[in-house]
Symmetry: C2
Subunit: 163 residues, 2 copies
DNA sequence: GTCCATGCAAACCTTTTGCACTATA
DNA sequence: TATAGTGCAAAAGGTTTGCATGGAC
């Protein structure tokens, strides 16, 4: 385990506030998430724990991630891959969107002031009280374009025709 | 099966163009999706097939939905519920976003010109070639607000402190 | 008659749960 | 020492696949 980060200490405090035990496993999982700048899957988290010589059951990883999400120190992401990814929230912009390469899966974060406006406008229009949003732009990253990656186009010949 | 819609005919044509058999099951699944204005889950599609007296295996439903998505007549949606939803594309705005109630699951569609601009701006900035995007705003719908629905708040006392 | 689709069940994958055992506070 | 966490394996939930049978063309 590396030297404690601010997030590390905050998570310990969260556990204490909630009257929950601070265990080696919990702090190890938290540390993996906090020391990564990526959007980690559970599989990736387990791999990093193994690299560190930590032998932690899958169930404990899931249970700890649940605590991290509850503490709001970590955000759960779903890019439609069939599994979730986890991203820590501290020392990065609190609200950001994702640009995702459909070919290689590379993820770039960006900020958009416009989206905040859309959220407010639409929420007011329909009487919703907005809680959060997600904006994802999918496309081909520069590297995949350079590699000549192509996108499957296989639809009906003219989907907009009136028939 | 109701009277053939334009989408119905387009799907038949798609199958023929691809040299695939036009079967009763495929057309029944397509019809359920095309005659609904909702975002249907596989479970809901199966229920509607049962109501119509169609007895179609789950695997066939999935395989047909795959064809419908490939044909681009139907779009697959993932609202993070743990399963997919399917929405037909014709006779509605081609590009729209979703406003989703976190309490009751109600979905409202809306359009945003701003998002198109964000997509272009960000794609150009990072050299991506944009393919598609998704914007979802989550919140409490008017009905759930009126019912006094509350949102869980359980995070660390001050996640932004420097420690 | 040739392919391909269908239906059923088993397999798959991610995530959750039950339970005996262990560790925290 | 009491309470809660851990690990393992089984279960759960959605989706996919293998294979013998049946239907489309």
């Amino acid at each position: 385990m590396s030297e404690p980060t601010a997030s590390h200490r905050l998570f310990r405090r969260y556990l204490q506030e909630q009257g929950l035990p601070v265990t080696r496993q919990r702090m190890a999982v938290a540390d993996v998430v906090f020391t990564s700048q990526e959007h980690l899957s559970v599989e990736e988290i387990e791999a990093r724990l193994r690299e560190r010589g930590e032998r932690i059951g899958k169930a404990t990883v899931y249970r700890t991630l649940d605590l991290l999400v509850r503490s709001r120190l970590v955000v759960e992401r779903d890019f439609g891959e069939g599994f979730k990814r986890y991203e820590h929230r501290l020392s990065r912009e609190p609200i950001h969107e994702h640009l995702i390469c459909v070919e290689c899966g590379k993820v770039v974060e960006f900020q958009s002031w416009e989206v905040q406006e859309v959220e407010s406008r639409i929420a007011a229009l329909y009487g919703f009280r907005p809680v959060r949003h997600r904006l994802e732009v999918y496309g081909l990253c520069p590297a995949c374009q350079a590699r000549g990656a192509k996108l499957a186009t296989d639809g009906v010949t003219c989907p907009i025709e009136t028939v």
